[in-house]
């Protein structure tokens, strides 16, 4: 009880946000840095992943292996990549940009590959029959899947904007560095300012991508500033010798006997965080989703609730984690709540869509009996939406397991915290050992979830759909 009172007291110290002109002006630097490194990284990601995706999509020789590598890279938490890049190229946006470029090249190439694989075979065969070269066939594939490329591509961009704050938090510069600074300095009113700025940027990017999807040509306008960002944020100091030396010192991975003895408890803690975080997210998301479904709630309720869900979602788990570790102290509780808050945002939106997309006929039929709105929802909307809600929740659980390791790194316990402490104390061999364990865990859950979905006959969509 006492600790709750303290937590609430700390929460109050986050208000009001510092909106002074002086601070907002000082923030233009970090904001530009975050946006710049996102733009630069995503330019690389799109440029590399488009040909790569085409190659995998057309099932060129070795494309299975490429797919495997892409999945493997994607299973490395983005925060870990950023830490490694800081070690290799030094503090600042260069490290963050490289980390994001690697992660999102893998992520986007994987999605593009899957998209191109599902392209309608008939028109492709027709093109091949004309004697077109593989390159011509590939070029033909792009317009065929343009809509999907644009929507997934912009989706990944939005996700990258959020990730830029995460990689910033470990030395990648930009808003993330500033955020950690304000938290370490107990400067919580400015932390709130930063959260608001982040929510604002994500909303702006969201609005922009919606427009760009309608007019894809305008995308070309974004290339020069992205190139400029790439140039500005290129690593100042990159010594291959140093990198090779550092990587060499990280192998072979090793853990001492104490660490091995603690391992099962750490893994259990991470899994518990993921599980309870998903449950918490679902519990928060459910009523909010009902309130924000346009087919259920009146617009004056639905719209503000929808905005609230978007705000929850705009702040990544790690950032919620940083804030909560400051408020509630360390431990899996903070991590669980952090996962819960972000999950509530994403699940809320997806649940609401599930409610909106149910077959309207049974709903009308129940409403026609003169049933109260509550009864209509309980007897028709909910049971009709239960299958998609189940799929979304399972995906979220899978995603949260990955994020539980990342949230752990900022002090929320579990294997993530062990990894981060090993890294911070320069025990890089132990760090790599923890990294490999995490990586295997994530890959295993990926596989498990795919198998479960296949057995249940549930629709399969890429995990990115629901981040």
């Amino acid at each position: 009880m006492e600790s709750l009172a303290r937590a609430l007291q700390t929460l109050v110290s986050f208000l009001p946000p510092d909106l002074s002109a002086h601070y907002l002006l000082a923030l233009t630097g970090p904001v530009l840095e975050s946006i710049g490194m996102t733009a630069g990284a995503m330019l690389i990601a799109y440029m590399v992943s488009l040909p790569l995706g085409l190659y995998v999509g057309l099932r060129g020789p070795g494309s299975r292996f490429i797919g495997f590598v892409l999945s493997g890279v994607r299973a490395i938490p983005d925060l870990t990549l950023a830490i490694l890049c800081v070690i290799f190229v030094g503090i600042g946006p260069a490290a963050g940009m490289i980390a994001m470029a690697i992660f999102y090249t893998a992520a986007v190439a994987k999605i593009f590959g899957d998209l191109f694989k599902t392209a309608d075979a008939a028109p492709l065969d027709a093109i091949r029959a004309t004697g077109a070269s593989p390159v011509q066939v590939a070029l033909f594939l792009i317009p065929l899947k343009l809509n999907d490329i644009l929507s997934y591509g912009s989706y990944e961009f939005e996700s990258a904007v959020r990730a830029s704050v995460i990689v910033g938090a470990v030395g990648g510069g930009g808003l993330g560095a500033e955020l950690v600074g304000t938290l370490n300095g107990f400067d919580f009113q400015r932390t709130t300012t930063l959260l608001l700025v982040l929510i604002g940027i994500v909303a702006a990017v969201d609005a922009l991508t919606v427009r760009l999807r309608q007019r894809p040509v305008w995308l070309l306008l974004l290339v020069p500033p992205s190139l400029y960002a790439l140039w500005v944020f290129q690593p100042e100091q990159f010594s291959l010798l140093h990198a090779v030396h550092t990587i060499g010192a990280m192998f072979p991975p090793s853990l001492d006997s104490d660490a091995i003895a603690r391992l099962p408890a750490l893994i259990a803690e991470t899994c518990a965080m993921a599980l309870f975080g998903t449950v918490l997210g679902g519990i928060i998301a459910f009523p909010l989703a009902l309130m924000s479904a346009r087919t259920i709630a009146p617009p004056w309720v639905a719209l503000p609730v929808r905005r609230f869900l978007e705000a929850l979602r705009a702040v990544p788990e790690t950032v919620w984690g940083l804030v909560l570790v400051a408020i509630a102290g360390i431990g899996p509780e903070a991590g669980t709540i952090a996962l819960g808050l972000h999950s509530a945002g994403s699940l809320g939106r997806l649940f609401a869509e599930s409610f909106e997309n149910v077959d309207p006929a049974p709903v009308l039929a129940v409403a026609a009996t003169g049933a109260r709105p509550v009864a209509v929802v309980a007897y028709a909307t909910l049971p009709l939406a239960s299958a998609p809600i189940g799929v979304h929740t399972l995906f979220r659980l899978e995603w949260n397991l990955r994020q539980a390791t990342v949230v752990g790194m900022i002090g929320a316990g579990g294997i993530g915290q062990a990894l981060f402490e090993a890294q911070q104390l320069f025990f890089y061999q132990a760090m790599v050992a923890y990294l490999l364990i995490t990586w295997v865990m994530v890959l295993a859950v990926d596989q498990l979830s795919q198998m479960t979905r296949a057995r249940a006959g549930w629709i399969t969509l890429p995990a990115e759909e629901i981040r």
Binding site: R6, Q9, T10, S13, Y23, A26, L27, G29, P30, V86, I87, F88, V89, G90, I91, G92, G168, A169, V170, G171, G176, A177, E178, V180, G181, T182, L183, N184, G185, F186, D187, R190, E236, Q237, F238, S239, L240, L241, H242, A243, V244, T246, V325, A326, I327, G329, I330, G331, G411, E421, Q423, Q424, L425, F426
Partner: protein, 290 residues
């Protein structure tokens, strides 16, 4: 070397070529940027845009004293500062005792200069004024704040003192890393934790400037003296620049440079040596932090 080269596979040769090409490019760029000196500081008192701005007079002073442009960087954690010296993105860094030892061991960082007080530094154990904690033994079952995991006065020394007092931090209490001394002081003041350990100069400065409330806080234990902070250079930095930096700091006087010394929370700077850190090094080894 010339005899072994033909035996190399083409892949290996390409790799070596790439290394040399990169090295050549690096040296070219280094020449272009030679004028700039990059100085990093561990975020012992937080790292924000505003805290960087607050240190602008220091940057201006160093720039003037070295007759070269200086860029001041405050990374988000101690580890990144050390790695900065290793990968060459920093020329000089302000490090804590433990971080210096690591930078020296890993990358051969050279100790340059430190405050007089750093040779006989103290860690403070603090709690709320009205709390029931009066000795290290009272910490049993309480919540506790360390600073950064690599902090000497915020983690290593207090950890050692607790162990000597018969308290095992890993079992007997719930602790967290706040990331900086300022955060530890605030965490104790607001009651987010029952007690914490921090750097004495940060604590005094926060009380003096009103950033922390003296009426709410109480020091209940002080560590034995040990060697802490030091300004260190990456091994490749030329001797002349190293000497210039030492001079820039030792020339500071309370009469002429009060604003700079306030930022550095010191009164007098003296040259530093590696020998001072033998004790801290042994403690770090015994606690498996090295």
């Amino acid at each position: 070397m010339s005899q072994r080269l033909p035996a190399m596979t083409s892949g290996r040769r390409a790799f070596v070529g790439a290394v040399f090409a990169t090295a050549a490019l690096q040296s070219m760029r280094a020449v272009a940027d030679e004028a700039l000196i990059r100085i990093g500081m561990i975020p012992d008192a937080g790292a924000t845009q505003v805290s960087v701005e607050e240190k602008a007079p220091l940057q201006a002073y160093l720039s003037k004293a070295l007759k070269r442009p200086v860029r001041l960087v405050i990374p988000t954690n101690y580890n990144a500062t050390v790695e900065g010296l290793g990968n060459g993105s920093l020329d000089v860094a302000y490090l804590g005792g433990l971080t210096y030892i690591k930078a020296h061991q890993q990358y051969g960082a050279v100790p340059l200069v430190q405050r007089e007080a750093d040779r006989q530094f103290h860690a403070l154990f603090i709690t709320q004024a009205a709390s029931s904690i009066h000795s290290l033994q009272d910490l049993k079952g309480k919540t506790f704040a360390f600073g950064d995991i690599n902090s000497t006065s915020g983690h290593l020394i207090p950890y050692q003192d607790m162990k000597s007092a018969g308290i095992n931090p890993d079992r007997d209490l719930r602790f967290r890393y706040t990331g900086s001394h300022a955060a530890t002081v605030k965490a104790v003041e607001t009651g987010a934790v029952d007690a914490g350990a921090c750097d004495e100069t940060v604590f005094k400065e926060m009380i003096a400037s009103g950033k922390a409330d003296a009426a709410k806080l109480r020091v209940f234990a002080t560590s034995a003296p040990f060697a802490d902070y030091v300004w260190a250079a990456r091994p490749g930095l030329d001797a002349a620049t190293q000497q210039a930096i030492i001079r820039a700091f030792t020339n500071l006087t309370p009469e002429n440079d009060k604003s700079i010394l306030d930022i550095l929370r010191g009164t007098k700077f003296v040259p530093a040596t590696d020998a001072e850190y033998a004790t801290v090094r042994n403690i770090a080894r015994s606690l498996k932090m090295l």
